[in-house]
Symmetry: C2
Subunit: 315 residues, 2 copies
């Protein structure tokens, strides 16, 4: 084994330590491939997302946050399908084996993984500019995954939590809201509870406007919504005022809340379910047959073709 | 959509174009996660490998080669388990969307994927230093995956093809052997035929010494093998002489041939199977109870604790 190989072997050792051992993992880390079992009457879900230093996080960010986030953003994709996560694979690109950084990174990664019973089953560790790629696999009962397509005119649009908090926390160094950016919580149990209730769902990684737009586009429907109906982040409102806060909600990313549609007949069931949630739920409005997402403010209607708030500021 | 988002949307469009549409893919690219079906009585296999510019390939390398290799090295991992590949996910990190590079890269990727019926089901495209991470998923009938562990004393060691060819082709710019480096062939059908025959198997990505060492270590056995029994790359032998060629075979990587053990009773079955293979098969020797891999040359025995040939040169 070369010095280089030995150095990277050290990294591998850090990641074989997970205590959680799922019974559906026949063979985990250490062979050419992992072997797992998908239960009968279930479909397999797979999502892949990368975090790159300089693009998605800063070199000086807490490595525990990077470890948490690279898994959380993938778990959020499974949450948005109503899936139960099972396994993860992790590719680490590092300029050199920085053991202190890696230990803290692994703490962040495994702390989240263990909380949701997700087992690390493989990956790769190679020399290169710092970047992390995670692939997660999960399951849903056959036919029950909630897709982006599926919303119909008349369905009601709902949103969990306070999107914009992550962007506000990071930009304005608000210690409480910064944790929304550095340690986002994937809404897995809510996503699972929405199977059979939601007609379409997406997670909010790029801001409400962009991601809700994707849901409506995939479903070939539209919506005209009131800016005033967006959930208000009180700390941000106090500091920035209403207009800038709406901007954060619509265009601030990295929150990983869920946005979904519900047919009116199922709304009572949703309300009942949501009573036990610790995360607030906001009704945004009703889906229509228009081919676009429009925002209403002070009686006027604005389209938002780009990720900029100029259209609002001009008014 | 911002200019940045638009640029990367272009990339995504290049990768939605695959014609191959597997019936076990319920939902492919375009939602938060892909939905697939694993057939009953099969186990799922998952492997992840990265290629980073400057570490595993050069910026000036043919992008078709990079596209081929990032998938091939993963398919080779499935081959080494005896698996049938089904699906792939691809994370692309790029400093900027270079459409020409990406088109040729996609050609290389899909040319290999289509040949083995592998469908791209998802991934991520983000800004960052050039790197590719692929996760492949495949299946084997339950319990039939061939692992690294499983070889016993008395089993016979076999090797496909001519490891060292890729290193020779790349280092000495031999146009014929360079294709072994730039377009390695994953030994998928051979791997699948070895289910029920091989007691243990690994693919040769880092050289015969290192990877065979992993197989023996996982199986808790050893072997004492003759350098002279290694397959001879004739073009390399003519140019470099015997000693340097042995060095290439033992320590040259990136060939992705298969190395496996077979119980003596199954050897006739192996010989019969291999008659239809276009890839040569070499018998390296017999597994013993020693805890190490040793090489014999001219009646002397050498251990190779490091990836250097000093031990041989000193003799």
């Amino acid at each position: 084994m070369s010095a280089d190989a030995r150095e990277f072997e050290l990294i591998r050792q850090l990641f074989v330590r997970q205590i959680a051992a799922r019974s559906d993992v026949v063979l985990g880390i250490g062979d050419d491939a992992a072997i797992t079992r998908v239960p009968p009457d279930h479909e397999l879900l797979t999502a892949t997302d990368s975090l790159v230093a300089g693009t998605h996080f800063l070199d000086e960010d807490d490595p525990a946050s990077v470890g948490h986030r690279c898994l959380a953003i993938n778990l959020s994709d499974l949450a948005a399908m109503g899936a139960t996560p099972l396994w993860a694979s992790l590719a680490i690109h590092m300029p050199e084996a920085d053991e202190d950084w890696l230990k803290t990174f692994a703490d962040g990664f495994f702390s989240l993984a263990d909380r949701f019973g997700v087992q690390l089953i493989g990956g790769d560790t190679v020399r290169g500019p710092l970047a992390l790629t995670v692939t997660v696999q999960g399951i849903v009962p056959t036919g029950q995954a909630v897709r982006r397509a599926g919303a119909s005119a008349g369905d009601l649009l709902y949103l969990t939590g306070y999107p914009g908090s992550a962007a506000f926390g990071r930009l304005h160094q608000d210690s409480e809201l910064a944790s929304c950016f550095f340690f986002p919580e994937p809404r897995l149990s809510i996503g699972q509870e929405l199977r059979g209730l939601a007609s379409a769902m997406i997670d909010i990684s790029d801001g409400v406007d962009s991601d809700l737009g994707h849901l409506l586009h995939a479903s070939q429907v539209g919506a005209t919504l009131d800016i005033e109906d967006l959930p208000v982040i009180h700390a941000a409102h106090a500091k920035l005022g209403g207009e800038s806060v709406s901007e954060l909600v619509l265009f601030g990313g990295e929150d990983y809340e869920l946005c979904f549609s519900v047919p009116p007949a199922r709304e009572p069931g949703l309300i009942q379910r949501a009573e036990s949630w610790t995360v607030p739920l906001t009704r945004l409005g009703v889906i229509n047959d228009m081919p676009a997402l429009q925002w209403r403010k002070g009686g006027k209607i604005f389209s938002v073709p780009d990720k900029t708030f100029e259209h609002f500021s001009d008014s």
